[in-house]
């Protein structure tokens, strides 16, 4: 718990809040990117190189780009007239609060257990790779299959539309 952590945490929280509260959709997407970057830096601050860089590569390099791309391709980035909040914001708030409560509870429950542990072991990318392709190879392959299925599904959806327009 040092100064760097607080700065990064503040950055992440501010980015997240801005992503929710800003009016312009593209600004929201860029604020979300700031939140992702803050998260990645938090990982790096914990010496988790692989998680941190993967966070940047996947979330900033792919997810954020896809989000802005989707915004560009669908509609203008101007604020809708009936405000940025939907009518069910109260229900959304309740769900968010519930999720936050569960997560907070989990963190508080596990925190005392961690304090008794010695310093975190140094995990190299090499070890992560070995673990992924050794012990966890089945989950990895299942996830890969799932993503491939999603990819094929997306292609089919796109092709279907093309046939209709012809």
């Amino acid at each position: 718990m040092n100064l760097v952590f607080y700065v990064l945490a503040g950055l992440t929280v501010l980015g997240g809040l801005a992503a929710v509260l800003l009016k312009n959709t593209v600004h929201c997407a860029l604020a979300l990117t700031v939140a992702f970057a803050g998260l990645a830096l938090l990982f790096l601050e914990l010496d988790a190189q692989f998680a941190g860089f993967a966070q940047i590569l996947v979330y900033i390099g792919a997810v954020a780009i896809l989000v802005v791309f989707a915004i560009l391709l669908t509609r203008g980035s101007e604020t809708p007239e009936d405000g940025v909040f939907s009518h069910t914001w109260l229900a959304g708030l309740a769900v968010a609060a519930a999720v936050f409560a569960v997560l907070g509870w989990a963190v508080i429950q596990s925190a005392p257990a961690l304090t008794h542990e010695s310093a975190a072991p140094v995990v190299t990318v090499n070890q992560i790779g070995n673990a992924l392709l050794g012990r966890y190879v089945l989950p990895l392959e299942i996830v890969a299959l799932l993503l491939t299925a999603a990819l094929v599904g997306a292609v089919i959806v796109a092709m279907h539309e093309k046939e209709e327009t012809k």
Binding site: F53, A54, I56
Partner: protein, 391 residues
């Protein structure tokens, strides 16, 4: 003497840092290396711009710039003064903050990439475990600055340029990563320093560079294609095709910000050339064992400049692709070939030493290449484009 010359920059840094009190030494060491990178590569950028303009001129039987100084060698300085003293114009309807941040994000991200590129023996700013991953994650975030620039300008050319750039960068990042993974599979490490050291061995005086293997040669070609696209260089310069989009995503930039985009683009070329050098061309290692006495950093910068020259040569030769050709080429040719290359690497890895793996691996890639030539990229596949308009 030879090793002193080889390590001259490292020794210089140690000597300079040693002058400071020990509390400041770690910070000063990092700062000194950063300053060196921030000075050397923009200087190289100036040299490259001149080289490119002269070289392209010669390829077109022109003289190239020759007005400023003898043979025009002071041209970069004149360009720099010009762009620094020009008025900075921000369009009225532009999103001022994002418009301002975009070039900064680009240049900072590109400078960060140099942190992990080994530029000589013991000459790397951060020798980390996952340096290749770092390079690609930072490289991926340059796309965002391109989008920011294009979107914030409120100009349709900028926006179209940005969309093209982002689509192109996403498409070619996959083959870029895949062709690099081949090297990682052989070396068993994501650290660029280890990858270079693994190539710094010799048999009969010839180096063990990855490019001198069947999979490495194919992988290098794929890497070079993807890298050219990733840096928006001709023939993949659609995002800034001046005959179509003025200047693409940085149309609405002027003065210093324009210079920053220009700088970012060339620094991107240097960093990706450095990466390609480290992955396939043996990094700082000498091409023949009897040349071991030449300082390692000379080899590194020589190889990088050679790659830049090839990029210039290609730019002077090839016309620009069309957007659909670009995408077809990425997804239907380069990506399948890089995937096949991964299989090839696995074969190479598990067939063991001997002539068999040379024959098998070469045959796999050659057959795939011939098959692609005969089927996938026939003229009628590339042929005229059919248009579908949006409703």
């Amino acid at each position: 003497m030879v090793s002193t010359l080889d390590q001259i920059f490292v020794l210089l840094k140690h000597w300079l840092v040693g002058l400071l009190p020990s509390v400041l030494q770690p910070a000063a060491g990092v700062l000194l290396s950063v300053v060196a990178i921030v000075c050397v590569f923009p200087a190289l950028f100036a040299l490259t711009v001149l080289l490119e303009r002269k070289g392209l001129g010669r390829m077109q039987n022109r003289l190239g710039p020759n007005r400023v100084g003898p043979f025009g060698i002071l041209q970069p300085i004149a360009d720099a003064i010009k762009s620094l003293t020009k008025e900075d114009i921000v369009p009225l309807r532009a999103d001022a903050l994002i418009h301002f941040l975009a070039p900064l994000v680009l240049v900072v991200a590109v400078f960060l990439e140099f942190a992990v590129v080994p530029m000589g023996r013991n000459m790397v700013l951060v020798d980390m475990d996952a340096s290749l991953l770092f390079f690609f994650s930072i490289g991926a975030s340059t796309e965002l600055s391109v989008f920011m620039a294009g979107w914030s300008s409120r100009n349709k050319y900028s926006l179209m340029g940005a969309m093209r750039a982002v689509a192109q960068m996403i498409s070619y990042e996959v083959p870029l990563l895949m062709s690099s993974v081949a090297v990682v599979m052989i070396t068993g490490s994501l650290s660029l320093v280890k990858i270079v050291e693994a190539q710094n061995q010799y048999t009969y005086g010839l180096p063990h560079w990855n490019i001198f293997t069947p999979w490495g040669c194919a992988g290098f070609v794929m890497f070079a294609i993807a890298a050219t696209a990733e840096t928006n260089r001709s023939p993949f310069d659609l995002p800034e095709g001046e005959s179509e989009l003025v200047a693409g995503y940085f149309t609405e930039y002027s003065g210093f910000k324009f210079a920053l985009f220009f700088l970012g683009e060339y620094l991107g070329m240097f960093s990706i050339s450095g990466l390609g050098t480290a992955l396939f061309l043996g990094g700082w290692s000498a091409p023949f064992s009897f040349l071991w006495w030449v300082p390692s950093w000379i080899w590194f910068f020589g190889k990088v400049m050679l790659s830049i020259c090839v990029l210039i040569w290609v730019r002077g030769t090839l016309p620009r692709l069309r957007q659909d050709q670009l995408m077809n080429f990425a997804w239907k040719f380069v990506l399948p070939m890089t995937l096949l290359n991964l299989v090839d690497v696995a074969l190479w890895r598990f067939l063991g030493e001997g002539w068999l793996r040379w024959v098998v691996c070469s045959a796999v890639m050659l057959v795939a290449y011939v098959a692609a030539a005969l089927t996938g990229l026939r003229r009628d596949h590339i042929g005229p484009r059919s248009y579908r308009y949006a409703e």
